[in-house]
């Protein structure tokens, strides 16, 4: 082996680089899937009007589409009073600001309970969550694109369009905080106080403004006037995870209003399976890299065939058996393969360790610092096996042809 130290080092390096790619793709794929299904964490259930789980997760988590119905606050309050409930945060959707969806919710409760990417808290890059009626909190992408900082004022627009006549320009929300990047739909959202949201809708009926609130003295309004009548959905945390399924059954049979409860993780996993194309693309990419790995091994074997054949023929002329020659090349292949595998695992583990924080805050991808999964072991097994088989080519050559051909 030492006579071919440079080419062997190069092939080991090539193999290692390919294996690093295979490993990285596999881990990013898994982390993306995990990240996706953890776009919202810390929430046991989402309760909303009766609808499909994917539909509900689309508008409550991804802020896509519009809910057809709302849930009355009476129902929400009744659910909240259930002894199984640990916490409940209602959200109201429907408005937007310059193309970014507005989420009206209880501030600061929302940010105390909501998590993402497993168990990461939603952090503020600037300011904090004020409980003022005019408080607004801007997601990192929205803040960056709109150039918003703490203290800036914004008006929200009725619906998701930009029509001026639909603007709630009679009440300004003031930004009290800007969120740090999460890599989830939170980055693209603008959160406002639910009571403020109710206030801007005071003069509206059936999507049309009847009177403005600029002349309304907020202090003179009775407390209940700003309590929302309906909300889009509510995020719920239960006191015990064991209560999840009985609680869902209870909600689905709720007699006073047609409502349903979903487990966000399950709905997100369902949604991911629909977006299965992404996974197929990842798999295809992995297999292409594995193929390149195999081509690299076979190419090296063939390239080194001549020098190896002569060396082996001399060994055979001195009495080396086929078993000895096979053992020699298999040992060499194993050393190359195992060095490449350990190098790749070590590299990816170290890289994961250092990139973990960066990736989770920028892309919401939480890489797991793990050793080797069964899938990865199988893939490496295939690569090593192919390497071993192709390394037997020169040994087989030596035994198939006449000895004197290799010695002349």
């Amino acid at each position: 082996m030492r006579s071919r130290a440079l080419p062997l080092a190069l092939v080991t390096f090539t193999l290692m680089a390919s294996m690093v790619l295979v490993l990285s793709i596999d881990r990013i794929q898994k982390a993306t899937e995990a990240g996706f299904s953890q776009s919202v964490s810390g929430v046991d259930l989402i309760i909303g009007p009766k609808s499909g789980s994917i539909e509900m997760v689309l508008y409550t988590v991804f802020h896509l589409g519009q809910p057809i119905n709302n849930v009355t606050m009476k129902t929400v309050n009744e659910i909240e009073s259930s002894p199984d409930i640990d916490w409940l945060v209602p959200i109201a959707l429907g408005d937007s600001h310059k193309g970014f969806r507005v989420v009206a919710t209880n501030l600061p409760d929302y940010f105390e309970h909501m998590r993402y990417g497993g168990d990461l808290p939603i952090l503020f890059s600037e300011g904090d969550a004020s409980s003022k009626i005019s408080a607004a909190i801007v997601g990192s992408t929205a803040a960056e694109k709109l150039g918003y900082k703490v203290g800036a004022e914004l008006f929200i627009t009725h619906g998701s369009g930009n029509a001026i006549e639909k603007s709630h320009d009679d009440f300004a929300f003031q930004i009290s905080g800007v969120l740090a990047q999460t890599g989830t739909p939170i980055d693209q959202a603008i959160f406002v106080n639910l009571r403020g949201y109710e206030l801007v809708h005071l003069g509206w009926q059936s999507g049309t403004k009847v009177f403005g609130v600029n002349n309304v003295n907020i202090e003179s309004l009775p407390d209940h006037a700003l309590n929302p009548k309906t909300v889009t959905a509510a995020f719920v945390g239960l006191k015990s995870k064991f209560k999840i399924f009985p609680f869902i059954r209870e909600i689905n049979k709720f007699p006073k209003e047609p409502i349903s409860a979903i487990i966000p993780g399950v709905a997100l996993a369902e949604l991911w399976s629909i977006v299965g194309l992404v996974e197929s693309a990842f798999n295809l990419l992995s297999w292409m890299i594995i193929l390149i790995c195999l081509i690299a091994i076979v190419t090296l074997t063939i390239a080194s065939l001549d020098s190896r054949k002569r060396e082996m023929t001399i060994l055979r002329a001195n009495g080396a058996s086929l078993f000895y020659l096979a053992r020699l090349v298999i040992f060499e292949s194993l050393v190359i393969g195992l060095t490449a595998v350990s190098g790749a695992v070590l590299f990816v583990t170290i890289a994961t360790f250092f990139a973990e924080h960066q990736l989770s805050s920028m892309l919401g991808i939480k890489l797991q610092t793990s050793f080797l999964s069964l899938d990865e072991l199988i893939v490496f097994g295939i690569i090593l096996g192919a390497g071993l088989l192709s390394s037997l080519i020169p040994a087989a050559f030596v035994y198939r042809r006449n000895l004197h051909q290799g010695l002349s």
Partner: protein, 217 residues
């Protein structure tokens, strides 16, 4: 009897057939096969070494009939009973002198058992062949052709195989070195257990041998 050949014939791909004389070699024999270039000397030696498959006739090496042996068995017979110095030497360039010489017995228990201490024995043979003592750990590629020929001879002699074969071992030596080399070789081999068969077209070697066979087809 160490070696006996009987009606050996070899058909080349060119269509030419060579008939070889019958040969009997006993312990202590020193046989020289001479002849002009292309007369089949190397082919004769390769057939005897089992490197070429016999097509017609028979070779018997210490009771082993080559025609009935499989190639792998033939490889083992060669490792156990023959020390062969190829015309192209066939040393492994990246191995040291010691490692190359050791190859001579590495795959034969029989020859290994005849060498109680390998390194001193290799040193002894190399010295007898006129090589300096400090050469053991040098890579083959650092050696002159003359030195490489001696290393190839040492590999063939290690473990005292019954038959020592050499194909033009002095081809790259001047006449003085040739005489010295053959003398050293003959001094190194053990006439009570071994026999020598050398192929050469060099007439100056004739006086060192007790049997000279001239191939002339």
């Amino acid at each position: 009897m160490i070696l006996e050949t009987n009606r050996l014939e070899y058909l080349y791909s060119s269509g030419q057939t060579i008939r070889f004389p019958d040969l009997k070699i006993r312990v202590g024999d020193r046989v020289l096969v001479t002849g002009r270039s292309g007369c089949g000397k190397t082919t004769f030696l390769n057939l005897i070494a089992g490197v070429l498959k016999i097509q017609k006739g028979e070779i018997d090496l210490i009771g082993n009939r080559f025609s009935s042996l499989r190639p792998t068995s033939l490889d083992q017979i060669r490792a156990d009973h023959i020390g062969y110095v190829f015309q192209t030497l066939n040393l492994i360039p990246f191995l040291t002198v010691l490692e190359n010489v050791r190859l001579g017995i590495q795959f034969s228990h029989q020859r290994t058992s005849k060498v109680p201490e390998i390194e001193p024995e290799i040193s002894r043979i190399l010295s007898a062949l006129g090589l300096p003592k400090n050469i053991l750990n040098r890579p083959i590629s650092n050696l002159s052709i003359g030195q490489q020929q001696r290393v190839a001879c040492a590999r063939a002699l290690l473990g005292k195989p019954e038959l020592f074969l050499a194909d033009e071992p002095t081809s790259s030596l001047d006449p003085k070195s040739t005489t010295e080399f053959v003398q050293e070789l003959i001094n190194t081999f053990d006439p009570s257990k071994q026999a020598i068969l050398i192929v050469s077209h060099d007439p100056s070697m004739v006086p060192f041998f007790n049997t000279v066979i001239e191939l002339d087809n």
